[in-house]
């Protein structure tokens, strides 16, 4: 046991070498004023700015707003994706009717929807939520569809032998068997939502972490920009970790899928 522990510490230590060297390097070139101070700023200043923004409560307010947007868009988009995916996986006819339209829509690069959605909904909350929902919809749809399609025929035959009703078949056989794929969909959809909220806040917002980054840029304050980048990175990662933990506790029989 202690052997494994020291091995782990060693891996972490090696992983920290590059970041630490990088921080020292940037600190040194900033001290020696080798680069314009507006473009490269010393890392300790970013930490100070982070603490300041935390103290004034500004950061948590921006974070709260972004998170509520993500949740609204994600829940809307992912649940629609889940329902559509289930329906078209169960009925061949509905697949034939809906699939061509959906695959045409999915060809549009997501950011291309921004101009059209702003024209329709203005630059308010509706635009952001719908935009995020768009991004969450497709990964959830595809993974739900593939998950249910990939359920082994033998499972369905067993259910049929026990004369399961179709509701029971869906709830007891198809969805549990498709759970790993559903989780992949949820992870991709949430990652996409988080990316799109930042994108939406860059173009049209007065608050939120994406706006914080733009605001820093407008003030020409690199430290605020970097705080924003670090915060969105960390939160995205935390979301992913939370989902992974949840997934492995829910499905002890299955190893968490490596996505993102």
């Amino acid at each position: 046991m202690p052997f494994i522990k020291s091995e782990k510490i060693k891996t972490v230590a090696i992983g920290l070498i590059v970041p630490i060297l990088l921080v020292i390097f940037i600190e040194v070139i900033c001290k020696l004023e080798m680069v314009p101070s507006q473009i490269v700023i010393p890392p300790h200043k970013v930490v100070i700015t982070f603490l300041e923004l935390m103290n004034t409560g500004e950061l948590s307010e921006h974070f709260r707003i972004s998170l509520s947007r993500v949740l609204a868009g994600f829940v809307l988009g992912a649940s629609l994706g889940f329902i559509t995916g289930t329906v078209i996986a169960l009925s061949k006819r509905s697949e034939r009717i809906v699939a061509p339209l959906l695959s045409a829509l999915s060809q549009v690069p997501l950011f291309g929807w921004i101009p059209i959605l702003i024209l329709w909904f203005g630059i308010g909350e509706t635009f952001k939520v719908v935009f995020i929902a768009f991004g969450a919809f497709f990964p959830m749809l595809i993974n739900t569809f593939e998950g249910i399609h990939g359920v082994p025929k033998s499972y369905i035959e067993v259910a049929r032998a026990f004369e399961f009703s179709s509701v029971k078949l869906l709830g007891k056989v198809l969805l549990p068997a498709a759970l790993p794929s559903l989780f992949t969909g949820i992870k991709l959809a949430l990652g996409m939502s988080w990316m799109l909220v930042v994108g939406a806040e860059l173009v049209a917002a007065g608050e939120g972490v994406g706006y914080l980054i733009v605001w820093g840029r407008q003030l020409f304050q690199m430290d605020i920009v970097f705080v924003g980048i670090a915060v969105v990175g960390c939160i995205g990662y935390l979301m992913f970790l939370t989902l992974n933990t949840f997934e492995s506790s829910l499905m002890r029989w299955h190893r968490p899928t490596a996505t993102k």
Partner: protein, 260 residues
């Protein structure tokens, strides 16, 4: 005969939803059910298309976007390929670089845009933005490809006393190539998504995204729709070509599978 009939109904079913939407759209704009400036009729969109075709702005902007994507894609995927190979070949570098690579990867891509604007490299900042997105999938897939080169192949190489260089070119590179190709396909479609984002976040360089963004300001919904259809088509064409390429090289993968 029967098969043909079934196919005909399939085609009809596939056309049902798009046709319904199209007719509803046409009728709604004809009888002014919906505000015309927000829901332009199909003929408006066609007229708008002719307009931008005639004054040359359509192909001018499309050309800029495509060249921009190719630059970003080439830069990003080459870098990604080299990083992927390096990390796959050396366990030490893998431990050294992977943690910081993963940390950077957690940041949602749009968040980098304001930083790149601040650094103000002009066209280069747009290309770098695309290159960042293009790099990740190639790194991950190439790395996986190199890591999953079969041990027996390496042993055969060792038996024939291949030099390290020969091992790399004759064994590692060919057997990891299909995985790299998958990475390249993902990378190209991400690049195309990001070029639209880059042109919206970092304006004043032209491009189809910027055209749509400008049309939004003038409330020219017909041209926004033209833009959406155009980017969807180009995106589809790129994806299609990459899939064909992937299939072209898949005889490689099939022989690998059969030998297993």
């Amino acid at each position: 005969m029967k098969i043909k009939n079934i196919k005909l109904t399939h085609v009809l079913e596939a056309a049902l939803l798009p046709a319904t939407i199209f007719v509803a759209w046409f009728l709604a704009s004809r009888y002014n059910v919906l505000p015309g400036n927000l829901f332009p009729s199909p003929s408006d969109v066609l007229a708008g298309f002719y307009e931008v075709l005639n004054d040359g702005s359509f192909f001018y902007n499309l050309n800029i976007s495509v060249i921009r994507v190719l630059k970003g894609f080439l830069l990003g995927s080459t870098t990604g390929f080299l990083i992927g190979i390096t990390l796959g070949m050396s366990r030490f570098l893998e431990k050294l670089i992977t943690p910081i690579f993963n940390a950077i990867r957690q940041v949602p891509l749009p968040a980098w845009a304001p930083l790149l604007v601040l650094v103000s490299l002009g066209e280069m900042s747009r290309v770098l933005f695309i290159a960042m997105g293009a790099c990740y999938p190639v790194v991950l897939n190439t790395f996986e490809g190199v890591k999953s080169v079969r041990h027996d192949y390496m042993e055969v190489g060792r038996m024939f006393k291949f030099s390290k260089v020969k091992c790399f070119f004759k064994i590692i590179l060919p057997s990891s190539f299909p995985a790299t190709l998958t990475g390249l396909r993902l990378s190209l479609s991400i690049s195309w998504m990001l070029v639209v984002a880059a042109e919206i976040f970092m304006t004043s360089g032209g491009g189809i995204g910027e055209m749509m963004w400008a049309c939004r300001e003038f409330s020219r919904m017909d041209l926004v729709v033209v833009g959406i259809i155009a980017i969807a088509f180009v995106g589809f064409a790129m994806n299609f070509t990459m899939r064909k390429l992937e299939r072209l090289f898949s005889f490689w993968r099939i022989t690998l599978k059969q030998s297993r």
